[in-house]
């Protein structure tokens, strides 16, 4: 490459999409960013983001979450990134690119990564207001905005993207139609059988599918916006919004304009090194390139391989791109669809092995060569085996192929563990990572967790479909290399919380000492345990109390000694040793009479009152001996413990909903109250919060809750794994349009599965991120009952609900328990002198200086401090 004298040679990248970003990373990995000036022209208003996960925007991922560009990386490597400034022309003679802003850059190497544009069929009305495409974040924002005033939406095209778009429209509350010209859905990926299974499942979800018909015209109303579509069978479909998803075309205009060779059907023609056939200084990669094998690839994995190839070539390394696999796995509204290898059985003499159950929406086909080689396949409804099967493609699997497609439990079925795979099997096709590389990460690079391996190898950071297999491989490898990872709960137990839960449940152990003496670490047996395992085991025993024959009252017998201080006094300890009192106010709804009671009690005991962030009222500054007196009055007035102190259900917030709000579509207050009353008192690994919103405006902030519910026109959407706090996380959509009963059943299962498998102090958000398989796995377990444990989970929850009693009512009626609510065992009537207060803003606050006086030597401790 020729360099401008005295300066580093310049590489100009046009297009900062997924493949462009990958190319930059490949340059950096090869040290080329140090030896070259790198200039990037990015047309979109934001740097590269994860287009593959675009649809997850509608389940709460923000544009920031989708970003793939670490600005630190750009800066550290001195990359000049021009956002919102597309290349407008290329002068190949002068080797010069001109951008829209007027910026002119001379290049030594030009790399085109301009991607594709959505193809819009030339039908009349296609440009009307209300017509959209589905490619960029801006497209999504526009669709979302327009959908607010729309009721019905139609998607033109029933391919992979069309289905995603239709699912998104439905999620936005629209009645959705899919119009597909071919006789089946996803015509490229699946065959007729797969299409039938898919059709059934998609229709069951309430989407209307019209196959075998074309769109002839978009009908436009007087105001110029869409009102419907004319179809080729003569019918008309009324719709307010149209999304075209009829395929993509390579963006090769820039290349055409400067005289580069393009294919007959588009695409910049390149050789095996991804260099354009017309100009050795110009490369093309990603969806805009027509590869040496004569194909334009519309998937990200081949694009990544091209990016690597181009970077290697620029670094004068040997690399080539000769073609790639078109395997895909898609998850649409919970339906798995996957195809891999020679899915349509085009090879000579191949055989199909098919398992199909259209009632259950299952269809699985394997294409087998004459010698038993697995050539490809299609999976609809259950793509569990995708990762393994794809990796076996091209070889003869070690077991009979039919056993791989039969459903679990059907006798012959076999689960092939990833350990059976050869080292060169590709586990992550997004990043082209082989099993050997993953093993190497564990053995040579000492990674001990899936997140570490992801970071080290990039495996699993693309579409995510390989994460499950990845987890299995990492564990297998760790065990094989004898790495002893102490997953134990604490110094007393070598088991995890989850294992202890299973032991307690299976053996019905309802005493901590018993558990410690039998299952604790050798040196801990017979001892007093520690502050980590006592509350953890206390919580497990409380969660399972009815099932294992323990008392449901957390202050009974030995259980009292296990509880954290807050649970022990059924109140929250404050910094000066006083307590706060939070009665339950289900759903945040409270009658004036009860408000008055709270006001009177607070006044009578001189408490500081505050409206909490959880839609209820907190009374602060109660001395320990006042707690029973305060609660006796609260219980009398019909209040119950709000469990503000427990690792248990806190609040179910509500918005006012349909009853009052002009937008509400369901009675969110009633649902919030029902849920709060159902799960109150449920002890769990960490606190649980919930909220119910009456429409998608989401005034109750349900998507920041452990389980959040948002009303839809036809029922409820359930979101799980949300979190505010230190590391906020938007909840993920678990299921849509549920009836009341379905909603409650799913939450029952979800919570019990969480309680069963989470680590101590692990909120649902971190749990969901940690457990192998993540949301997909949780959905499989709680929605599809893949482990066959849902009956048990529901039963456990029913037992909890049936045995719930208010622990404060129980306590105020038990003189023996009341005896512990004293400041001093030998002076029950003397208040703790350190607990004192000073006035502030019409109320009072802790006398904080008194606390520091308290830290001086004993003699002058209490002189002059105000007492209440």
């Amino acid at each position: 490459m020729t360099a401008t004298l005295g300066a580093n040679p310049t590489i100009v990248l046009v297009g900062h999409g997924m493949v462009g970003q990958r190319f930059l990373e490949a340059l950096a990995e090869r040290g080329l960013t140090a030896t070259h000036r790198v200039v990037v022209l990015c047309e979109e208003p934001r740097p590269a983001y994860d287009r593959v996960q675009l649809t997850s925007y509608f389940s709460g991922r923000t544009p920031e979450d989708l970003s793939m560009t670490d600005m630190g990386f750009i800066k550290d490597h001195g990359i000049e990134l021009h956002v919102g400034d597309p290349a407008e022309s290329v002068d190949r003679e002068a080797r010069r690119v001109t951008a829209r802003s007027g910026l002119v850059v001379d290049y030594d190497v030009l790399v085109l990564a301009t991607g594709s544009y959505p193809f819009v069929p030339p039908v009349p009305g296609k440009d009307a207001e209300g017509c959209f495409v589905y490619r960029t974040i801006e497209d999504l924002l526009a669709i979302e905005e327009y959908a607010k005033k729309a009721r019905v939406g139609a998607v033109v095209g029933g391919g992979l993207l069309g289905l995603e778009a239709a699912g998104a429209l439905k999620g936005l509350g629209l009645t959705s139609h899919i119009v597909e010209f071919a006789p089946r859905l996803m015509p490229v990926q699946v065959d007729d059988g797969g299409g039938a299974a898919l059709l059934r499942t998609i229709e069951d979800m309430g989407l209307s599918v019209h196959t075998g018909v074309g769109t002839q015209e978009v009908v436009v109303g007087e105001d110029g916006s869409v009102t419907g579509m004319k179809l080729s069978d003569g019918s008309e479909l009324a719709t307010d919004l149209v999304v075209f998803s009829a395929g993509v075309r390579p963006r090769d205009q820039l290349a055409r304009d400067c005289g580069l060779t393009v294919g007959e059907r588009g695409g910049i023609t390149v050789d095996e090194q991804c260099r354009t056939v017309s100009d050795p200084h110009v490369f093309a990669i990603g969806e805009c390139a027509l590869a040496a094998d004569g194909r334009v690839y519309g998937l990200v994995a081949p694009g990544y391989e091209q990016a690597e190839t181009a970077a290697a070539t620029i670094a004068s390394d040997e690399a080539s791109f000769t073609g790639a696999d078109l395997s895909t796995k898609l998850k649409l509204l919970g339906v798995d669809v996957a195809s891999f290898g020679d899915a349509h059985g085009t090879a000579e003499d191949c055989l199909d092995v098919v398992y199909s159950d259209s009632r259950a929406g299952l269809y699985k086909k394997l294409v087998i060569g004459r010698d038993g080689t697995l050539l490809g396949g299609i999976l609809v409804g259950d793509a569990e085996a995708y990762g393994t099967l794809k990796a076996f493609t091209g070889s003869v699997p070690p077991v009979a192929p039919e056993s791989l497609v039969l459903p679990a439990g059907a006798g012959e079925s076999v689960r092939l563990g990833p350990s059976a795979l050869p080292d060169d099997a590709i586990i992550c096709s997004c990043h082209n990572v082989s099993k050997g590389a993953i093993r190497g990460a564990v053995t040579d690079h000492r990674c001990t967790t899936v997140p570490e391996v992801k970071k080290c190898t990039k495996a699993g950071t693309g579409c995510g479909s390989c994460v499950k297999v990845l987890g299995q491989l990492v564990n297998a490898e760790l065990e094989a290399s004898g790495v002893e990872v102490d997953k134990g709960l604490c110094g007393c137990f070598s088991q995890t919380r989850e294992e202890l839960y299973e032991i307690v449940l299976a053996l019905r152990i309802n005493s901590y000492q018993d558990l410690l003496d039998r299952y604790g670490r050798e040196q801990a047996r017979g001892g007093d345990g520690c502050e980590v395992c006592k509350p953890t085991v206390g919580s497990i025993i409380a969660s399972l109390a009815p099932a294992i024959g323990a008392s449901g009252y957390v202050l009974d017998g030995e259980q009292a000694a296990l509880q954290d201080t807050n649970d022990h006094f059924l109140a929250n300890l404050q910094k000066n040793g006083s307590y706060s009192v939070v009665p339950r106010i289900p759903g945040g709804e409270i009658a004036p009479e009860k408000l008055i009671v709270i006001g009177e009690i607070a006044r009578d005991f001189g408490l500081y009152t505050k409206i909490t962030g959880g839609q209820r009222i907190d009374m602060f500054g109660a001395r320990v001996e006042q707690l029973p007196l305060i609660w006796a009055r609260l219980v009398d007035a019909g209040f119950e413990s709000g469990h503000a102190y427990g690792k248990s259900l806190r609040t179910v917030k509500s918005c006012v909903g349909q009853t009052w709000c002009r937008y509400g579509v369901q009675d969110s207050v009633r649902m919030a109250i029902d849920l709060e009353l159902r799960y109150r008192g449920l002890r769990s690994p960490h606190k649980l919060k919930s909220a119910v919103s009456g429409c998608q405006r989401e005034c109750a902030e349900a998507q920041s809750k452990d389980f959040g519910v948002i009303a839809t026109a036809s029922g409820w959407n359930l979101y799980v794994g949300g979190n505010g706090g230190a590391t906020p996380r938007h909840a993920d959509l678990l299921a849509q349009d549920l009836s009341d009963a379905e909603l409650v059943r799913l939450i029952d299962r979800f919570l019990m599965f969480y309680i069963r498998t989470a680590d101590r102090l692990e909120r649902t958000s971190t749990w969901l991120e940690r457990i192998p398989g993540g949301l997909d796995h949780v959905r499989d377990v709680v929605v599809h009952d893949s482990l066959g444990i849902c009956d048990e989970l529901e039963q456990l929850m029913r037992a909890h609900v049936a045995h719930y009693r208010d622990e404060w009512a129980e306590t105020v009626n038990d003189p023996e328990k009341l005896a512990r609510f004293v400041s001093f065992v030998n002076a029950p009537d003397t208040p703790d002198p350190v607990v004192a207060f000073v006035p502030e803003r019409d109320q009072m606050k802790p006398d904080l200086p008194l606390l520091s006086i308290g830290m001086r030597p004993a003699a002058d401790v209490l002189e002059g401090s105000a007492q209440r």
């Binding site: 030998n826 002076a827 350190v834």
Partner: protein, 116 residues
């Protein structure tokens, strides 16, 4: 199974200036939990009983926060020795010596305790 001695009539006593100061009935102490006692000079002690029936006492004041709350902490065994973890910021204190296990410069007063 419990190794706790017969509890009727026994009193918990602390050694103060060479004398035994009676605090309460032994039955007031739940194994694994503490109580607070007001001492004649206005100080406070946190008294604990472990599962084998042994008694321990330290100053009730948490030196990290100033609040008199150590009696409300969770107890445990660390390398064979009993400790209490402050309920406020969770620092642990050895119940025999009063030494803070998480900060070697901090120690609370420890008292000798017995059941008699």
């Amino acid at each position: 199974m419990t190794l706790a001695p017969e509890t009727t009539d026994l009193k918990v006593e602390l050694a103060l200036d060479g004398d035994w100061f009676a605090v309460c009935d032994l039955s007031m102490l739940l194994p694994g939990r503490g109580v607070a006692a007001l001492l004649p000079d206005g100080r406070q002690a946190a008294i604990f009983r472990d599962r084998s029936g042994e008694l321990f006492a330290v100053d009730n004041r948490d030196p990290f926060t100033g609040a008199a709350v150590l009696s409300r902490g969770l107890t445990g065994t660390h390398q064979g020795r009993p400790f209490v973890a402050s309920p406020l910021l969770k620092q642990r204190f050895d119940l025999m010596s009063g030494q803070c296990l998480d900060d070697e410069t901090v120690r609370v007063t420890a008292y000798e305790a017995r059941a008699a």
